[in-house]
Point group: C2
Chain length 216, copies 2
Amino acid sequence: MPTKRTTVRRLPERGAYDRATIDAILDATCIASVGIVEDGTPLVLPMVFARDGDRLLLHGSPGSRLQRVLRGSAEVCVAVTLIDGLVLARSAAHHSVNFRSVLVLGRGVELEGADKQRAFERIVEHAVPGRWADCRQPNAHETKTTQVIAIPLTEASAKLRTGPPKDDEEDYALPHWAGVLPLTQAVGGPVPDPRSHPETELPAYLMRYVERSGGR
Amino acid sequence: MPTKRTTVRRLPERGAYDRATIDAILDATCIASVGIVEDGTPLVLPMVFARDGDRLLLHGSPGSRLQRVLRGSAEVCVAVTLIDGLVLARSAAHHSVNFRSVLVLGRGVELEGADKQRAFERIVEHAVPGRWADCRQPNAHETKTTQVIAIPLTEASAKLRTGPPKDDEEDYALPHWAGVLPLTQAVGGPVPDPRSHPETELPAYLMRYVERSGGR
């Protein structure tokens, strides 16, 4: 549900508030920019995240300043941005960017027990589907020294821009090239760990990941 | 110069504070995540930025809540993150991400006059070198209704991870595939505006931009 704080006020036609749109953006990446306030100053830190139904999952070392804030009572902001293209208009002022972004505001809840164990699986599977069954799962020490925080998706909004540039009517006659330079995140060929057994083949779920992402 | 706030405390070997490293990361993209505090809550918003020597440039509509904060006396945070790969370790807990990121803390200064005009050129040229000479430059109305803010690069730090996964010694014998899935931002083939003159050719500076970025 949009609130006053998550309602898109500039260019409101770019705002979207349905969960299908929000979830599709969140599920297209595993990197977020997490905003906290420390001593009155905003700090923005890149973090791995996962969507787990109606909540986002974040994790890290319990001793870090970021994790202390995340498990506290303060509100935090999770921003996810996908850049789809540079929009070149005929006029400098109408240059723009095609993008899809999500803004989530909420307070963290620290996970424990079985919920925490399940969260580890979601975090790995959100990043690379199929990976959880193909790695050593967390032991007791790793589970204890990793904090997992859930942020509910109750206050969230999306913002999107698509399509060609929009110039002032009189500028369409100008001779400058105008259009979009599409940008995508591409997956390159997997690079095996130098310490891998030479006979270790690339598993099918990783082949699918590379193919699905249009890997080169 | 690193301060207490911009010093990398977790995994300090990943921190870097030299301007060459910081500038190279800033110059590799034109999208930042800008953090502000509004009514005590952190907000993170994606923005186009440019580096102009020893400062970052941000711009927008003077009436927006974000721009009001940026021209005020409050500290803001500008975060830039480049994702270079997903790092798949044999153990779930050692999965990681290869990345290059910059964190800048500072207070905005609103630009006026010739400095503001020059900033428009820097913003366009930072995003697409060569573009400024090939578009209509801002008129008096556009200049008046666009705010440009400079943030000095005095309090900034970089953080980087590169290379293969680092597993616990006893896990190297496990049979799971381990290594890196490289991620890059790829430029696709330019999409001309449907309203372009059919005879408008792609200029040389845009061909270079696509080729330099490994466009597909």
